[in-house]
């Protein structure tokens, strides 16, 4: 259910960022740039960092970590080479906005620029960090409270953690899915621990490094973060390939004529939607999705296909045998053993199952029953409700009904 018009929260975020950028730009043009050398150095850093979005895979959590770290460092910069700096909040916003505009030119030329939401998020997060830090610093309070020692470093780290939280809140607001806000925010917070913490750490170290050693600290500190980015890219690439291979393996039952076309994909998408509806997230959701993709793989060991691949209509013993065979195949694929366990359990009565297996069982049965054609979706749902005494968990069936009532599964990140 991709909304045609962005929801009001998204519009508010975009509008806020735009208004801020325009105000900052006007202010800076009017008053001139303070310490142009520093503004230029950080501007170049953020531009280069944003250009590194090049080749980012869709759905990457932070495609431009260097840009983020550079922008945050400029927001938290209070000294340079031992001398106090004088730039204010609005100049920080101006530099970051200008760098983002500049970096987006080649991307837009190729038709693959960062979305307006990402740019707005970056701008607002940096503005948040700058508002927290710069006024304090200029009033001399930060020095008065924390001195120029270890407590100041701690103060910067705390500010960065707050900025990261602010970013997560904005990301959850602009996610643009029909998911409820709570689980979305939880997912965003969970993702912070990876590259998010590397960005925060580098931002803090850049601010401190420049404070101690001047602008030369910037290129030196870029290198470790770039290395982290490269590692993440490689990891993301191999993860994508892996997903594709799993999906191919899952489709093999369709090509072998055991299951109807698109069955594995439909069950996986609907299962994921039901899982989200029931509050699953992160790792549990991945396990559920893989298990749903491969739930029929055991049928490969049947000499003759089941009619229409509809295992839900087979005797219970036969269903369980196929499930166990499937688990054996899945164990060989090197996925998390939890996936194999779910595949093995999929034919058990729901009281003996874990949540993921309950979802796969109900959704698979729904898809099988829909495929029969006579009853249609409503009839299939009715059939599932009749089976809630033993086979299907009532809560899962109701969650499925809610997802279907909203118009079916939505893919995360769409919209």
């Amino acid at each position: 259910m991709t909304p045609v018009h962005p929801p009001p929260a998204v519009l508010a975020v975009r509008g806020g960022a735009l208004a801020l950028a325009v105000a900052a730009l006007g202010h800076t043009l009017w008053n001139g740039v303070v310490e142009p050398g520093h503004a230029l150095a950080f501007g170049v850093l953020v531009t280069v960092g944003e250009l590194a979005r090049w080749g980012a895979l869709p759905g990457e959590r932070e495609p431009a970590p260097l840009g983020a770290a550079g922008a945050l460092a400029y927001a938290l910069l209070g000294r340079s080479g031992g001398q106090d700096t004088a730039h204010g909040v609005l100049q920080v916003v101006t530099v970051v906005a200008a760098a983002q505009l500049l970096a987006s030119v080649p991307h837009v030329a190729r038709g693959s620029g960062p979305g307006p939401d990402q740019a707005a998020r970056r701008l607002l997060t940096v503005a948040f960090a700058a508002v927290c830090f710069q006024p304090f610093h200029h009033a001399g309070r930060s020095e008065h409270w924390f001195g120029e020692g270890p407590y100041f470093a701690l103060f910067l780290l705390v500010l960065l953690v707050l900025s990261a939280l602010c970013d997560a809140v904005l990301a959850a607001l602009t996610a643009g899915t029909s998911r409820r806000y709570g689980p979305q925010l939880r997912d965003e917070l969970r993702r912070l621990s990876g590259i998010g913490s590397a960005v925060c750490a580098t931002g803090a170290v850049m601010a401190l490094g420049v404070a101690v050693a001047g602008l030369w600290a910037l290129p030196v500190l870029c290198v470790p973060l770039l290395l982290t980015q490269v590692s993440y890219r490689r990891y993301a690439a191999v993860r994508t390939t892996y997903r594709q291979t799993i999906a191919s393996l899952a489709r093999s039952t369709e090509i072998a004529g055991y299951t109807p076309h698109g069955h594995a994909r439909r069950v996986a998408e609907l299962s994921a939607a039901v899982g989200r509806e029931l509050g699953l997230g992160g790792h549990e959701l991945t396990v559920l999705e893989y298990a749903a993709l491969m739930h029929d793989i055991g049928q490969l060991s049947l000499v003759d296909p089941v009619a229409d691949g509809a295992t839900a209509l087979l005797p219970a013993e036969e269903q369980r045998r196929i499930a166990l065979l499937g688990g054996a195949v899945v164990r060989q694929t090197g996925v998390d053993p939890a996936v194999a366990a779910v595949v093995e359990q999929q034919a058990d009565p729901y009281r003996e199952q874990q949540t993921a297996a309950r979802i796969v069982r109900a959704v698979n049965a729904y898809d099988d029953l829909c495929g029969e054609g006579v009853k249609g979706p409503l009839g299939a749902l009715e059939q599932l409700r009749l089976g809630t005494g033993r086979d299907y968990q009532p809560q899962v069936v109701e969650a499925l009904a809610r997802v279907l009532a909203r118009g079916g599964p939505t893919r995360v990140g769409a919209g």
């Binding site: 100041f152 913490s197 590397a198 170290v205 101690v212 030196v220 290395l227 191919s248 000499v303 090197g334």
Partner: protein
């Protein structure tokens, strides 16, 4: 680190020498007039030990090993901050509690401690010689670090660090595993220069921040990106292994349906790789070709099991169904982005040069190069492998048969490449093992004298009736 498999006498002497050298290097630190900064030393040593402990107890997630590389910035920072005699001692406590891969545990730990002590000491010595400590700034008078100049000694120290580490590693490999010295050292230093320079930059910023008014805590934050980078890298390797397992699972899914071809796919992958290397293909294409070989028959998943397992002659209808398998295979791997060229090989591996193959009857150069390679590898393995109902042919006979069919069925260039590769590397004995679990007694005996596949139809490798 180098493996110390069973301590030989030579290895023991070598380790003893390293320990004595390290101890001699540390002696000056003990004299009162050396002014050793024991506080800094203690803090750095404790930090390094703390970094090594997770590797031993596996607290983080349990299964992701953190390689030693993530702590090199810390050691380099120590080399920059401490005088050489004190730097020798930094890594010792950490190395003595570190995780080791296998027995003999004590020998490995002692060796690691001595090796790191010597390496850090040498790096610190090089740093002091090139005038590094003065460029760090900080200190009581609060000097500003002379940054562009500070890079030079740091890089020099990193190079010495990498060279000494590699040299000591080569030595232990040579003495403990009795590898010839020149093999043990080959390629070791060249590979590690880049990473060590990156570690040096991180170490330098650590040292600068450590000396500054912000103190050791801010220096620690430099380590975090490096640590995360190493963690992600370990994850990458784990996922990569999982991906290979999934590819194998695809192949094993075929084996579930068709027990005769067990092991065939892997061997065709290996033979395709041999040909690719012989033709001088670049690394990524060689890898792709290996996957093409492994997956060439994945389309058999689409053929009904009853037809695949049928004993006795096939009807024309069944033959047509089987001949659909390249197209099924192409369809199955369509979604796997990285296979790319390999998909063409899966679709066309039954084409023949004279146009009598399937599915499209392409001729000559219109058959993709990858497909021509896989066709030769497929036929070669079908002839040489022993199936439960017949013995495999000897390799020379199979090559002769391939040569006979070159030009009409196979690309002569690929056949020549395979022959050359076999001359050079041989064909492993694994190829001649029986490849089916099924009981040979249960199969019709006349299969033994059915004409072997080569002359013509590798369309059902090894299964002619």
């Amino acid at each position: 680190m180098a493996g110390v498999s069973g301590t030989s006498a030579a290895a023991r002497v070598y380790i003893l020498c390293a320990v004595v050298c390290a101890a001699l290097g540390a002696v000056p630190a003990l004299s009162p007039e050396a002014g050793t900064p024991w506080g800094t030393l203690g803090l750095l040593a404790a930090l390094y030990s703390a970094c090594e402990l997770p590797g031993r107890f596996r607290v983080f997630g349990g299964s992701v090993p953190i390689t030693a590389g993530s702590f090199f910035p810390l050691l380099l920072a120590a080399a920059f901050l401490l005088p050489p005699s004190a730097a020798v001692l930094v890594a010792v406590p950490g190395a003595l509690v570190s995780h080791v891969d296998g027995p003999p545990v004590t020998a490995r730990r002692v060796w690691r401690a001595a090796q790191l002590a010597l390496t850090v000491g040498a790096a610190s010595w090089a740093y002091a010689l090139s005038g590094g400590p003065a460029t760090l700034g900080g200190g009581p008078e609060g000097a500003v670090p002379a940054l562009p100049h500070a890079l030079l000694p740091a890089c020099a120290a990193a190079l010495v660090f990498g060279l000494v580490l590699a040299a000591l590693d080569g030595g232990i490999i040579a003495t403990a595993e009795r590898v010839a010295v020149r093999h043990a050292w080959r390629g070791l230093p060249a590979r590690s220069v880049g990473p060590h320079l990156v570690h040096a930059l991180a170490g330098l910023m650590m040292a600068v921040l450590w000396r500054s008014t912000y103190g050791p805590l801010s220096a620690l934050v430099v380590l975090l990106p490096m640590y995360i980078s190493c963690w992600v890298f370990a994850q990458y390797h784990r996922r990569h292994a999982a991906h290979r397992a999934t590819i194998r699972a695809l192949v094993q899914a075929v084996d579930i349906k068709d027990g005769y071809t067990r092991g065939h796919s892997e061997r065709v992958g290996r033979a395709s790789e041999l040909i690719a290397r012989e033709l001088g293909m670049e690394e990524s294409r060689t890898e792709a070709l290996r996957f093409a070989g492994i997956l060439h028959d994945v389309g058999k998943l689409g053929v009904p099991t009853r037809v695949l397992r049928k004993d006795g002659p096939l009807t024309p209808e069944e033959r047509r169904v089987i001949e659909l398998h390249p197209e099924y295979g192409h369809e199955i791997v369509r979604g796997i982005g990285f296979l790319d060229e390999a998909r063409a090989a899966i679709l066309h591996h039954h084409e023949r040069l004279d146009g009598s193959g399937y599915p499209y009857g392409l001729t000559g150069d219109r058959i993709p190069e990858f497909a021509r390679v896989v066709a030769v590898a497929d036929a070669f393995d079908a002839m040489t492998s022993t199936r439960s109902y017949r013995r495999g042919r000897p390799v020379p006979a199979a090559v002769e048969e391939l040569r006979r069919c070159a030009g009409s069925q196979f690309d002569p260039r690929m056949v020549r490449a395979l022959a050359r590769a076999l001359d050079r590397h041989g064909w492993s004995a694994a190829a001649n093992t029986v490849t089916s679990d099924e009981d040979p007694a249960g199969l019709p005996t006349q299969r033994a004298d059915v004409r072997a596949p080569a002359a013509g139809t590798p369309d059902r490798p090894g299964r002619h009736r």
